[in-house]
Every structure is written in structure tokens, then in C-alpha cells.
Amino acid sequence: MVFVPKEPPAATENVNVSPNHPLHEFLILLGGLAGVLFLVWLLLGLAVDWIVPNLDPRAESQLATIYRPLLEVGDASPTTQTGSRALQIELDQLLALQFPDKAKRPAYFVHLHSDEDVNALALPGGHILVLSGLLAQAESENELLFVLGHELGHLIHRDHLRGLGRSLVMYTLANALFGNQNFVSGMAENSLRNLQLSFSRGQESAADQLGLALLVKKYGHAGGATVFFERLAKQEKSPRFLSYLTTHPHPQERVEQLQALIQAQAYAIKPTQPLSKALKANLAASQEHNPDGQSEKD
């Protein structure tokens, strides 16, 4: 046996490295991932849309017990309690308008929560949470009622459950499929969440429609409906094109949508009514309670 020296193979002739270009594989895999995510999102949407309308309201109120302690903390101060009561009267009037038949009328509750944020939330179990920041900025009863009607729309459409169900299932699925700490699973989750945003934009405008209809039913005109979003639009600092990345549509967009709706339905616009005394009293109290809260924000 003799040793015969041989030259090493050229870089392109390396048998142990696949000859295909890395970017080629990258694109194929990324496409595959996008396809899988889209399929998951589609199937999930169908599943949740099928389950939610069939869900027993009692099961829903079971869900609500999870965050009940949080609400009770918020309700502790007497000022927010009087505010809650005043809001509940308004909500009951809206409910009576939406469901004239008393037997079919669902029991929904509204709670006032001391928080600087200008926001209101619809929660599972038929609860609406109004943050006092919103109340502090409200100038008219019409405006406040429109926001209440909007959240009521979410509850009636059961959007809160859809959102909850989707994000829950997606989170579990992403974890099960891609492993717990895999950074691709983080990316998958993010893109699933972004897909979900477009879903909730559709829900928002449906809820806006219901809020508007209720407003007109109560006052006979649509005055004050756009005031809330107009104010938000003025405060909004992010440029409009960024609104695709946020949960809610840009306020200016919603104002335009509402105005188009008002024109299409030929709703009249008349002067608005000031806030009721009970709510005003609460507003004063909550500002006292939280002196540096709202004054500087306006």
C-alpha cells in the first residue's frame, strides 16, 4: 500500500454541504410558515365563530368570576359607586330601547373605575368597565351614551368572547406547535395577533353602528356621536398610516365612518344635552380624589 496525495475538493464541490442557495431555502420555509399560520387563523376563526353564539350565558358568567375581585377593588370608593349607579340607569334605558321585550332582555352591568385612561371596556359576563378618565372628558350625555351603546354593541355581538377565545387558542397552539421558547414561535404569535387586529376593526365599526342606532332611538337625532372620537383624534399623536398596527381604527377614520352613516340614514343633528347631575357630582368627586389626573391632559 502506498500513499497517493490528492488535492482537497474545491469549495463548490463539497459533498457535505448542500449546493442550494441559503436564501432559496429561507424563502420556501418562510412561505410555508405563512401558509400554516394563515390556515390556523382561518380554522380558528371558524371554530370560535361557531362556538361563541352557542356558548351558554351561565358559562360566560363563570368566566367573569375570574376578574370579579378586580372590579370590587375598583368599586370600593363611594364616589365611583354613585357614578356606577348613575351609569347603570343610563345603560338600563339603552337596554330597554334595544330589547323592548322584557323577557329577552339580558342583564348587563356597568362599573366606573378610577383610572386616568380615556377608555371603556366590554368584559365577558356582561360587564362594561368605564374608566373615570373618559367621564372627565365627556361634555354631553349624548356623547357618553354613544360610548355606552358602543360597548353594549360589543357585548351583544359577543366580540369580547371571540377575542378572548381566539387569543387563548392561538397562544396555546403556538406553544404546542413551535415549542415554548423558540423565537420563531414568538414571531408566529406576533403575526397571529396582527391578523387578529383587522378582525377587531370590523367588530369596532359594527359596535359603532349599534351605538349610533341606540343614540338616535333615545334622542331622535345623532348629535354628539362623533364628539368623542373627534376629541380623541385631536389628541392622537401617531400618524394615520400607523393605525394599521393598533387595535382600534384611527379616531379620525371612525369619525368619517360615523358621519357617512349619519348621512346615509339621514339622521338629524341637534344640540346635545349636558351631563346629568349625578354624573357631574361624580366627576367633581373623582377629580378631587385624583387631583393631578385629568386637568393637565386636556
Binding site: M1, V2, F3, V4, P5, K6, P9, E13, V15, N16, L177, F178, G179
Partner: protein
């Protein structure tokens, strides 16, 4: 055996043949990942134990590929046999296994 066939052995010599030339070490390797479906099946199987058929097949496929790559390298050197072949398996990343095979490329007369 045909003209193109490569003699593979894990002994140092080939019984009944005479090694006339030696070219040096040749190797073949491949990294394989198992897909999510197989992972799920395997984790289910882990509960009861027993053979993981999916993994057995996967590793065998990978071993065949690594061997083919080694043979391709030996052929480039003009060898007609590979002696003293060794296999090794290592896990290079979570969920991926590397199969590595090496031997000495030789020419038998």
C-alpha cells in the same frame, strides 16, 4: 460487483483483496430535523415506551445520505473502496441530529 461499486468495510483490510493505494480520510455528514408531526407522535410514544418508528426511519435515511456523500467524495479521489468506516451521531441543536461517517479511501487491486 459492478465496475462503479464501492467496497465499504469497517475493518482495516479487505479480506481476499490487496490494498494498493491509500488516499486519506473521506467523510460524509448530514443534519436532519424531524417535523412537528413526528415530534408530537414521539412525545405520545414516550408515555408508553417502545420503538419510535418515525425516528428510526429518519435516522436511517440520514445515515444513508451521509454514506452516499462519503462515497461521492471517495469516488472523486479515484478510490474503489473505503475501509475502517466509523459512524457517529450527535445532536447539534434542539430537535436536530447530525449523522457523521468517515473512513479511509483506498484502491484495491
Amino acid at each position: 460487483m459492478g465496475k462503479d461499486s464501492m467496497i465499504l468495510t469497517n475493518t482495516e483490510t479487505i479480506l481476499g483483496k490487496n490494498i494498493v493505494e491509500m488516499y486519506g480520510v473521506v467523510n460524509g455528514s448530514t443534519v436532519r430535523a424531524k417535523h412537528v408531526g413526528r415530534d408530537l407522535m414521539a412525545s405520545l410514544k414516550n408515555i408508553v415506551g417502545g420503538e419510535l418508528k418515525g425516528y428510526t426511519e429518519l435516522l436511517q435515511e440520514a445515515r444513508d445520505e451521509a454514506t452516499q456523500r462519503m462515497i461521492a467524495e471517495a469516488r472523486k479521489l479515484g478510490a474503489n473502496a473505503i475501509v475502517n468506516i466509523r459512524y457517529s451521531t450527535s445532536s447539534v441543536a434542539q430537535g436536530a441530529a447530525e449523522i457523521y461517517v468517515y473512513g479511509t479511501a483506498v484502491k484495491v487491486g
